[in-house]
Structure formats: C-alpha cells, structure tokens
C-alpha cells in the first residue's frame, strides 16, 4: 500500500449519459454509462429474455483521480453517481448518520454503483476508493468551514423506498423549468 498522502486531481473527465433501461417483460432495471453525444429515449431492443427500453438519460460524467505527488491513478468508472439524502425516512440508517454528521458540519453524500440486470441493488464502490474520493472533495474546499463525507449506498435499508436524489442533469432538453423529478427506478 502506498504511503503517499495523495493530492488528487480529477483526470480523464468524460461527459455522457447514465442510461436507465427497463425490461417491460420482467420489470428489471439496469444502468450504464455511455459517451453517446445524443440522448435517445424509447429505443427498444431484445436481448435474450429481456425486452429493454430506455426510460431515462441523465447527463453525467465519469472521471479518474490522479495523485499529483506519486502519480497513482484511481478510476471511478464504476461510480454511477452521488446522491444526497433528503431525510425522507427518519429511521433510515443513512438519515441517522446524516443527522450525526450534520452536527459536526459534515455534509454527507452517498455513492451508488451501477445496477446490473441480475441485481436488485446497485453495485457498491470500494470503501477505500470512497475515502479517497472524500479526500479529493475535501482538498477542494476550506475544511475549517465544513467537510464532505461520501458513504456507500449499501447503508440504505430500503432501496425502493429511498427518495434520495442523484446529483445529475435530467431533462436538460426540456423547455420548462424542472421543479420535480420522478425516480427512474
């Protein structure tokens, strides 16, 4: 393990879309990142027993972090997005943690991996990577005022009932201002 106190910079930034696809046969949802330049909605195709169609495109980006001291590169291609907790469920472990951290002026975000077609919960991003991502965002701010902490989404007790919101751009092609967004899950 490197003994370097990493000084991270964001590298290899690619903008694209996080695509949410749903199978209208079994209702499974899967997600993936694409660097296609144009969002396509309603594109339908069959893959084995699944009949997929795109239900949402969220403009997003993917990136790596590179240490400016030792050159180590950490890829975050498995990170689908960051969610912030809206405090919708008072007994949720994430909400309880959020309140504890808030008292110390630490703002919490949850890291969510992609959802594969055979999975009911998103894949988790490694804890050590989330620690480095937390360090990166804290290196970008004055931590005397407040700090960031990025936690894994697997602390969330009920994925289907979570009303946390992703930090991504949805409905960018809409002419109307966006006030409410429905969850694609």
């Amino acid at each position: 393990m490197s003994g370097c106190q990493h000084k991270w910079k964001m590298k290899n930034v690619e903008f694209g879309f996080v695509v949410f696809e749903k199978c209208f046969h079994c209702n499974r949802v899967r997600t993936y990142f694409t660097t296609e330049m144009v969002a396509i909605l309603g594109d339908e195709y069959r893959e084995a027993d699944h009949f997929w169609h795109r239900v949402e495109n969220a403009q997003s980006f993917r990136f790596d972090l590179q240490c400016s001291v030792c050159g180590d590169l950490e890829s975050f291609g498995d990170l689908m997005g960051l969610l912030y907790c809206t405090g919708c469920l008072s007994d949720c472990r994430l909400e309880i943690l959020r309140r504890e951290l808030e008292a110390e002026r630490i703002h919490m975000l949850m890291a969510c991996g992609f959802l594969g077609e055979s999975e009911l919960k998103p894949k988790q991003v490694r804890l050590d990577k989330l620690e480095e991502l937390t360090n990166y965002f804290n290196q970008r701010r004055d931590t005397a005022r407040s700090r960031i902490k990025i936690v894994p989404f697997d602390l969330e007790d009920g994925f289907c009932r979570c009303k946390g919101e992703f930090l991504y751009d949805v409905d960018m092609l809409s002419q109307e201002p966006i006030t409410a967004r429905r969850s694609p899950f």
């Binding site: 930034v13 980006f61 990136f63 960051l82 912030y84 965002f137 970008r140 005022r145 919101e165 006030t179």
Partner: protein, 110 residues
C-alpha cells in the same frame, strides 16, 4: 470582493440566508456534472438552473454563492435547502452575458 459587496455593487437579490464569503472567481454552467468537475472553492456559480439539486452540487464544490440569472423564478424548496446548507442563492434580472460583463468590469474572476 465578498458576496455582500457584490450584492450591493451589482444589484443582486439575496433569496436565502447565507454566510458572507470572499468570491475567488466565477464559474458559468447550467450542468451540475460540469460544476462538479470544474468549479473551484469560492467561485461564484452563474446558472439558469433552479432545481434544488443545485444546492448539494454547490455545497460539494464549495462555491461562494449561486447566482440565478435572467430573472428565473427559484422554487421555494430550492431556497429552503440553500438556507439549510448556508449556501447563498442570489438572483439577477440580467441575462448571464450582461452579468458577466459587470462582474468582469469589477475585476471579479480576472
């Protein structure tokens, strides 16, 4: 220059309760993904986006304030969340281009 000084000199309207901060630069974008990748701590973020997710995005990168340009109406829940996070949401009737001209003339971000 601080956010309070900018409010007075440029005629911005504060919508949320906020901590007065030094403005280090200016970042213009209407995509939270772009802000997360590129904005710096202390930047003044100019945007026409008003969805409440601009607040945690602004908080993540520690911008000094968000300025909603073009007189866009900001939903109450966005203002409420900003007050809770202590993020300044300021409003300007000016389109982004004209506001940037004023900020540049004042030496902000130069």
């Amino acid at each position: 220059m601080t956010t309070q000084e900018l409010i007075e000199k440029v005629g911005l309207k504060p919508l949320s309760k906020f901590e007065n901060r030094v403005v280090e630069g200016v970042y213009i974008s209407d995509m939270v993904s772009d802000v997360m990748a590129g904005a710096k701590s202390g930047d003044l973020w100019l945007t026409i986006q008003t969805h409440k997710s601009i607040v945690p995005a602004a908080n993540l990168v520690d911008v000094s304030a968000i300025v909603i340009t073009g007189g866009k109406e900001v939903p109450a829940e966005t203002v409420e969340l900003a007050s809770k996070y202590d993020i300044a949401i300021l409003s300007s009737e000016l389109p982004t281009f004209k506001l940037v001209g004023k900020l540049y003339a004042l030496g902000v971000g130069a």
